[in-house]
């Protein structure tokens, strides 16, 4: 088991390195750097000015060297610019680059500086992740119990009217991407068009003070999309368990149906949904990006969109490291959790 986790961690780090390198390469292509220079400096820069701007700030170094500096295995650049100013990668603002530490990469705990927000990347990501954690926590609180209840009720008696109604609901919810359900929900409950203006269609104020009024719609939008899928998996797992031998035995013994469901079936039926819920996290990340843009809730997803559209290299790298970590960590947890929940499977 220990070896298994170690190997997975190794794969995880390798994936993160490959992935950040791809992001690094794509964001450092010359048209992207030109865009960066023009948004940071002056939109009407001449081509020469762009070249010297980029050269002065270390962007014109070869790609592997820049990447090494970002990782922290190569010393950060110190360049005397064409304008006579001495700039260093590791120098804080106002600090003399010659006094600054030699290395400043991810390994030293320095995630770099965001050109879009003019702040340290680690600072931005931690505050934004806090906002998103609040959203996700509530989504989980709504989605997981809701999906499990729907799935169990539907799978309890396969083919009954309850099953058909709830399955229809879950199919509809899986077929509704966030940008559709979000738009429909805002139009229904956030505007006066249909005379049901109960909630706010904008969650900007929810960052400091989440209330029922401003946070219901974003939470509901993400929860609905994920709910259907988990419910369908739970239903499949429940119907499978309900046809098992031991359920038949319990029925023949004369155990009440309710007791069979609660005591015999439920525990076995909930193993598969656990994996599904864990693997659902990466999908939720997508939903978060869409919903945060739609409701202008400035969390992690919103930061991703902002960083990507302004080619904020270091912020984008930080964001991708975090999301890769989320994806791979949830995979690992689901594998390990599955082993613990299901004693029939052991990893040798």
């Amino acid at each position: 088991m220990g070896l298994f986790i170690l190997r997975r961690l190794g794969v995880m780090i390798l994936t993160a390195i490959c992935l950040t390198f791809v992001v690094f390469w794509l964001t450092n292509l010359s048209p992207n750097l030109e865009k960066l220079a023009k948004t940071q400096g002056n939109a009407r820069m001449s081509d020469d000015a762009v070249v010297s701007y980029l050269a002065n700030r270390g962007y014109s170094q070869p790609l592997p060297i820049k990447y090494g500096q970002w990782i922290g295995i190569l010393p950060g650049y110190v360049i005397e610019g064409s304008d006579g100013e001495l700039r260093g990668r590791c120098a804080e603002r106002g600090q003399d680059p010659t006094d600054a530490p030699k290395f400043c990469g991810v390994l030293q705990g320095e995630w770099g500086y965001s050109t879009r927000f003019k702040e340290d990347v680690s600072e931005i990501i931690s505050t934004r992740l806090g906002h998103t954690a609040k959203l996700m926590g509530l989504v989980m609180l709504v989605m997981v119990p809701g999906a499990l209840i729907i799935g169990v009720l539907a799978g309890m008696r396969e083919g009954s009217r309850t099953d058909r109604t709830l399955s229809t609901f879950s199919i509809i919810s899986t077929a509704t991407p966030e940008y559709v359900s979000g738009v429909v929900l805002i139009a229904l409950f956030g505007t006066a068009t249909f005379g049901m203006k109960i909630f706010k269609g904008n969650a900007n104020s929810a960052m400091d003070d989440a209330t029922f009024e401003n946070f219901t719609l974003p939470v509901l939008t993400i929860a609905l999309y994920g709910m259907g899928y988990i419910a369908r998996m739970t239903r499949a797992s429940m119907t499978e368990v309900m046809t098992a031998q031991y359920i038949r035995t319990a029925r023949l013994k004369g155990v009440a149906f309710r007791t069979i469901v609660m005591k015999h079936a439920l525990r076995n039926a909930l193993i598969a949904p656990f994996t599904v819920i864990m693997l659902q996290f990466p999908w939720l990340l997508n939903g978060v990006v869409i919903v945060e843009s739609l409701f202008s809730y400035k969390g992690f997803g919103w930061t991703l969109v902002e960083a990507a559209s302004t080619n904020d290299i270091e912020l984008l790298l930080g964001v991708s490291v975090v999301s890769v970590f989320v994806v791979l960590a949830t995979q690992l947890i689901s594998d390990i959790g599955y082993v613990f929940l299901n004693p029939r499977i052991r990893i040798s």
């Binding site: 992935l19 992207n32 009217r161 109604t165 077929a175 805002i186 990507a308 559209s309």
Partner: protein, 483 residues
């Protein structure tokens, strides 16, 4: 011209009736679910006259109410449609006019259904679809949009106004608004209102379906070719090849989709030519797929194989070269007379990125199926016969994996539709005036809190298409499991 109401003159008696039926249906469904927890399990009941009844008492009664309410609702809907088609212009309101305008679609749908149901026993899996209600509903929704796309895209029918044309004074106007006098238009109303640039929303939604219906299935098909060509050997051989390919697939899957889109589809990246190179790489796979498929089959009959391969490969090769050689991009090498067609660079980029995002998942599915099927007896038999490995993979394993693949294909078209919408939603790829549903939703959501109606029709259109594909996949899965 006066503005239209939703249901016009027939609404006075139809609407209350319809509302009552729907409320009854909803109530009885909820009652049934609630009662199923308390009521006795359903058993056969013997009646006094000696007959057997499956459901009696309260529970059975509610079952009857549900059925009747559903039927009445259906009849009322059909009545709306027929009245809308038969009554003169404007008498049956916006809904009636939409039914009237979409008449070719209804006729085609009825024809397809009538033919399919008549011959369903001779049509294999497709015919069996018509045994399942869910599958039939799903198929209907999908075919509805397919016909809309064919009529609107191929024959320029169905639309009421130019989807890019603006009529001043109709900015953000509500559905059914009349076009001001002095404009030379065939249709004197904007059926679903005007958007923030005073264009007709109804025509834009109809025209948008063409883009979605053209790209989504084709992109999914390409993703399947890539996934199958790489997934079969990975699953069949295993070993180092499998490790490397699986690592690459997982790498792509670990990217958040939206980050990937932002990295691939921005104008700056398009300027570097990376999407063109990716297109050149990804579109090789269909050629490889067909070449290997035919070669492995007819390897022993060179007289048949060689001409067949020459014809197929030269046609595919020409298509491939025309597709990737584009004016205005880095790859522009074909002389003009040889370059068969140019597609819009925006669409090509969107297409490539959607194929790129979808193929790793297909790869994983195919690899899993191949891993499972390679241990079967018929594979062992083929190996003993001395068949080549590609023959075994493509002519023994692949046909036996078709069930799950067909179901996944349907689901994946739906997912691709969602991805296309996501791209539009973030304003990536297609030009902003494009009528595709994602871009239209994106335009509409900016003013959503002030005017809600422009964003809703494309949202509902996208929802109905994806729902249809999901239901269709469900029906197919159900029917294919029955044998």
């Amino acid at each position: 011209m006066e503005s239209l109401s939703w249901t016009g003159a027939i609404g006075a008696f139809m609407n209350p009736l319809f509302l009552i039926t729907i409320v009854c249906l909803a109530l009885s469904l909820v009652m049934q679910i609630v009662m199923s927890f308390f009521a006795e399990p359903v058993t056969l009941q013997s009646n006094a006259d000696g007959s057997l009844a499956e459901r009696g008492g309260m529970f059975g009664g509610i079952e009857q109410v549900t059925k009747v309410a559903f039927l009445i609702a259906l009849v009322l809907l059909i009545l709306y449609a027929i009245l809308g088609i038969l009554l003169p212009y404007g008498q049956a309101g916006i809904i009636g006019l939409m039914f009237k305008r979409l008449l070719p679609v209804w006729i085609s749908l009825i024809l397809v259904y009538a033919l399919s149901i008549t011959f369903k026993r001779k049509l294999g899996l497709y015919g069996k679809l018509f045994d399942s209600t869910v599958g039939m509903i799903g198929f209907g929704l999908v075919m509805f949009w397919v016909f809309v796309a064919i009529f609107a895209g191929g024959f320029d029918m169905l639309i009421t106004h130019d989807p890019l044309g603006q009529i001043s004074g109709l900015k953000n106007k509500v559905p059914g608004v009349a076009v001001p006098d002095g404009n030379d238009v065939v249709w004197p109303h904007y059926l679903l209102g005007g958007d923030n640039l005073a264009r007709d929303i109804f025509s834009r939604v109809i025209k948008g379906s063409v883009i979605v219906i053209a790209i989504a299935p084709l992109a999914t098909l390409f993703a399947f070719m890539v996934g199958i060509t790489l997934g079969l050997p990975a699953g069949y051989y295993g070993g180092k090849l499998d490790t490397v390919l699986s690592f690459l697939a997982n790498l792509i899957l670990a990217f958040p989709v939206i980050l990937l889109f932002y990295l691939l589809v921005t104008p700056e990246i398009v300027a570097t030519g990376i999407p063109s190179f990716m297109a050149a790489f990804l579109f090789v796979f269909p050629i490889v797929f067909f070449a290997v498929l035919l070669n492995s089959r007819f390897y022993t009959q060179p007289s048949k194989r060689t001409p067949l391969l020459i014809v197929v490969l030269s046609v595919l090769g020409w298509l491939y070269l025309s597709l990737i050689s584009q004016e205005g991009t880095v790859l522009n090498f074909l002389p003009k007379w040889f370059d068969g067609f140019d597609i819009n660079p925006g669409i090509l980029v969107v297409f490539v990125s959607v194929v790129f995002v979808n193929s790793p998942t297909v790869f994983r599915i195919v690899r899993g199926l191949a891993l499972d099927l390679r241990t079967r007896d018929y594979v062992a038999a083929a190996q003993t016969r001395g068949e080549g490995t590609w023959y075994i993979m493509l002519w023994e394993i692949l046909p036996n994996a078709r069930g799950p693949l067909i179901v996944d294909f349907c689901l994946r078209i739906g997912y691709t539709t969602i991805l296309l919408g996501t791209l539009g939603f973030f304003g990536l790829g297609l030009p902003p005036e494009s009528p595709d549903w994602g871009s239209t939703i994106n335009e509409g959501r900016k003013l959503l809190l002030i005017v809600a109606h422009p964003a809703l029709p494309p949202a509902i259109a996208l929802l109905s298409l994806v729902l249809g594909l999901n239901l269709l996949a469900d029906g197919l899965r159900e029917e294919s499991l029955k044998d």
